[in-house]
């Protein structure tokens, strides 16, 4: 095998380093192919995760509608799968033909993992076909559990495929420190290259982000079907589906910043200058844009919930509070988006009168930002809780005490967040960084304990009326579209951040990009590229969903039909 790799390396040495792509250039061609492939891949990896969860809820709770929902998720997967493979092939061919020497370098190191990748892709595809086409055949008894196991397997193959692909791109970001420009690629062992500093943080971050993304796209799909629905039953079904998609997306989004924090920490530990370039260098403005996008996500997600409470009997009693929740979210978003350590030249520094803006400098520090985002997460959780409690009245004797304890937990969590936020202004940076852990722990503890109390308290609760699924104003559905577009755009932006911090290196400080496109573009250009990619992706998604609709009628089943599943 080693001989083969030396041959590959010899071939690589004799290859032209680069070729250009007509009209748009090689960088743009690869950028579009990689981005759209990634978006489809995120969708087909994220959706199976909650497809198996909803199927399990259907089996355990014996509720047919969850089983049908799961099948509908999977039907979306089927049509998205081929698009993922096509764009993957486009990306591979572009890399092999436009960056031949760099591609040969990667194959010399990662060859065996690429073969494993292909094998797993086959397994994943056939498991998906079995999972979907076997749905009605294996719907009872043990066969149903066997079918559910197929869903688990689908996730396992998909996750391994993603981990393998992640190892290639994280190697480009953070090659092991003993790899130098003089190191022959064939002499680098596969595992040494795979297990690089940012591999596992990226794996975890993408795993969660895929769930968020999948939920958002499913939500947009449901909202389209809701708007196009011709019957009340259909409208009710897609209203519910949109709610589930949004719930999944926002719930996973709340965890995502913690995975992002871990990734950032690993980047700093791997190379300080890379971390500083990312957070305070030419990319510093990117985080202001990110803050704006996440503010849109929080606002749109909460808005959807508040509007949704209009179809829940008993929700009126919570309506007066929404304006205060909105105020906290808006204030939090403003603080989070406040610039601080912007890259500035001597003229800008002179105009500012110092290193920081006299007023914004105080709001732009991490103490203020961490406080803002944690309060926004708490506020969003409170919205969910009100939504959940809207049409029930607990009857357990300790209901009042339980509610007071819940309120106390919210107050305590907010107090901890505020205390460490303010205290952060009076301590060294290294101590301040540690405070964010306490803030996060307070918020997560509050979410966990309040949820547990709420679940126990809701047992046997008096119903104030059933949720009137389908009675949602159309404007709420446009909020779901904004969520999907924003999540997709945010994914493109973060991809640019991750890739861009390598600057003019194919492989950080090992293999330099010497093309005319080596400079990392400014945010304005990147934004145009991201928007083009998002537009292409959403257009294709709309097209293949439409095709899917032509091939098969919707799988939604009215409540009066089969009531039981899994037994």
């Amino acid at each position: 095998m080693a001989d083969g790799f030396y041959l590959l390396q010899a071939a690589a040495d004799s290859l032209p380093a680069y070729r250009d792509f007509p009209l748009i250039g090689s960088r743009t061609a690869v950028w579009i192919a990689a981005e759209i492939h990634l978006m489809f891949a995120a969708f087909v990896l994220g959706v199976p995760m909650f497809a198996v969860v909803t199927e399990l809820i259907g089996i355990v709770g014996k509720e047919q509608r969850y089983d049908r929902l799961s099948k509908e998720f999977t039907r979306l997967l089927l049509v998205a799968y081929s698009a993922t493979a096509i764009w993957g092939a486009v990306l591979t061919f572009f890399l092999a033909t436009l960056y031949p020497r760099f591609f040969a370098y990667l194959t010399a190191i990662f060859g065996p993992s690429m073969w494993a990748y292909v094998g797993l892709f086959f397994l994943e595809s056939f498991t998906l076909y079995l999972y979907y086409y076997g749905w009605d055949r294996w719907k009872h008894g043990r066969a149903k559990w066997g079918h559910w196991t197929l869903g688990i397997l689908l996730n396992v193959w998909g996750t391994i495929v993603m981990f393998i692909a992640n190892s290639w791109l994280t190697y480009m970001m953070s090659p092991p420190r003993d790899v130098t420009p003089q190191t022959a690629p064939a002499s680098i062992t596969l595992w040494h290259a795979m297990a690089n500093a940012t591999w596992m943080p990226i794996n975890v971050h993408r795993l969660i982000a895929n769930v968020v993304f999948g939920g958002a796209i499913v939500g947009a799909y449901a909202s389209y079907r809701f708007l196009a629905a011709k019957t009340d039953e259909e409208r009710a079904h897609y209203d519910w589906m949109g709610y589930v998609g949004n719930f999944i997306a926002i719930s996973a989004l709340i965890v995502l910043p913690f995975a992002g924090y871990w990734l950032g920490r690993e980047i700093y530990q791997y190379d300080q200058s890379m971390g500083i370039t990312m957070m305070g260098g030419f990319m510093s403005w990117l985080w202001v844009i990110q803050a704006f996008l996440i503010a849109v996500l929080f606002l749109a997600g909460n808005y959807y919930l508040w509007v949704g409470m209009g179809r829940i009997p008993g929700a009126e009693r919570f309506r007066p509070y929404t304006k205060w929740l909105l105020a906290i979210l808006v204030l939090g978003a403003i603080v989070w988006g406040t610039p601080h350590t912007m890259i500035a030249d001597s003229r800008e520094l002179a105009a500012m009168g110092g290193s920081h803006h006299p007023f914004l400098g105080a709001l732009g520090v991490m103490s203020a930002k961490n406080t803002a985002v944690n309060l926004m997460i708490l506020t969003t959780f409170l919205s969910f809780l009100m939504y959940r409690r809207a049409n029930i009245r607990p009857v357990v004797p300790w209901a009042r005490t339980g509610t007071l304890v819940q309120a106390g937990m919210f107050a305590l969590a907010a107090a901890v967040v505020l205390f460490f936020g303010i205290r952060g202004y009076f301590v060294e940076a290294i101590v301040r960084i540690g405070f964010s852990v306490y803030q996060v722990l307070a918020v997560l503890s509050c979410i966990v304990f309040v949820t547990v109390i709420d679940v126990v308290m809701a047992r046997g609760a008096q119903s104030l009326g059933a949720i009137r699924w389908g009675q949602m104003p159309p404007r709420s559905q446009y909020a779901l579209f904004i969520l999907a577009v924003t999540f997709t755009w945010l994914m493109g932006l973060m991809g640019f951040a991750r890739s861009g911090i390598r600057q003019h290196w194919h492989v950080w400080q090992v293999m330099q990009d010497t093309t005319q496109y080596a400079a990392t573009p400014a945010l304005g250009y990147a934004a145009i590229m991201i928007s083009i990619c998002v537009l292409i992706f959403l257009s294709l998604v709309a097209f293949i969903f439409w095709l899917g609709g032509l091939a098969e009628k919707s799988t939604f089943v009215p409540e009066r039909e089969a009531q039981h599943v899994g037994h």
């Binding site: 202001v288 350590t341 600057q503 400079a519 304005g524 934004a527």
Partner: protein
């Protein structure tokens, strides 16, 4: 249904247009590729200053930390009443000229760390050519100081090339402690004292080395100097990556062994 479709398309396009517009309205900074400086043997201080400003604001990435106040000292504006860097660089280290101090700061950033800051600056000789480094020094000297960098400082044979990692050559800048093998001299010259405590002096970023010989062998100490990331002392994981990996290139074998023996003997 067409009206609904049009509304959806409008919402999607409107959202994309808004994000694109905002991203184009903020300051646009492109990360440039390092380019060779074409400075001849007759280069004037003015030309060096102009070239240095470009490196400082561009590929050097200096503005990322310097001038922002929290991560590293301001260089272009006043720092605690001492004026811009050109006015204070000659007073930073006793007996060291402004030029020698700035050269040391760029190529051995751990040698002297200003009180109140962490040793996070990378060795710029890894990413900038000697010409670029000297141009930056000239630019920094020009900030309320006197520019005394000239063509004679720039190493011969590097007049047009971009060779990051090349040795500084003829510069007036000293090799590490001028080849001195006295361990404590080395300990200061290499900047170890900035992070490691030994006896009554030193920082607390890295492990206390006062009794290092009692808990580590000479082999371990040697490895830690040459490859600091190989093993991270317990309790100091968060500082992993800060210690420079360049001591193997900066010290002679005699210096390294003298330092290792000295530390191993501290029981």
């Amino acid at each position: 249904m067409w009206a609904t479709n049009l509304k959806i398309v409008g919402v999607v396009l409107g959202t994309l247009a808004l994000y694109t517009l905002i991203a184009n309205k903020i300051p646009q900074v492109q990360s440039e590729v390092p380019r060779a400086l074409a400075l001849g043997a007759d280069v004037t201080p003015e030309q060096l200053v102009r070239a240095g400003e470009q490196v400082f604001n561009g590929i050097g990435g200096c503005t990322t930390c310097h001038g922002l106040g929290t991560r590293a000292p301001n260089l272009l504006t006043d720092e605690k009443g001492a004026g811009p860097i050109g006015a204070r660089c000659g007073k930073r280290e006793t007996g060291k000229s402004c030029k020698a101090y700035l050269y040391e700061s760029l190529t051995q950033p751990g040698a002297f760390v200003v009180t109140g800051y962490e040793p996070i600056m990378p060795d710029m000789s890894r990413t900038l050519s000697p010409q670029q480094i000297w141009a930056v020094i000239a630019f920094l000297e020009s900030q309320s100081g006197t520019v005394d960098v000239g063509a004679s400082d720039i190493p011969a044979g590097n007049q047009g090339g971009l060779t990051p990692g090349a040795s500084p050559g003829n510069s007036g800048a000293p090799r590490l402690a001028n080849g001195n093998t006295d361990p404590m001299t080395l300990f200061h010259a290499a900047g170890c004292v900035g992070c490691h405590k030994i006896g009554a002096e030193g920082g607390a970023i890295g492990p206390d080395l006062t009794h290092i010989g009692a808990r580590a062998s000479a082999t371990y100490i040697r490895e830690s100097i040459l490859d600091p990331g190989a093993k991270i002392a317990k309790g100091f994981e968060r500082f992993a990556g800060i210690m420079p990996k360049t001591f193997g290139d900066q010290m002679t074998a005699a210096q390294l062994e003298a330092l290792v023996r000295f530390l191993a003997s501290r029981k």
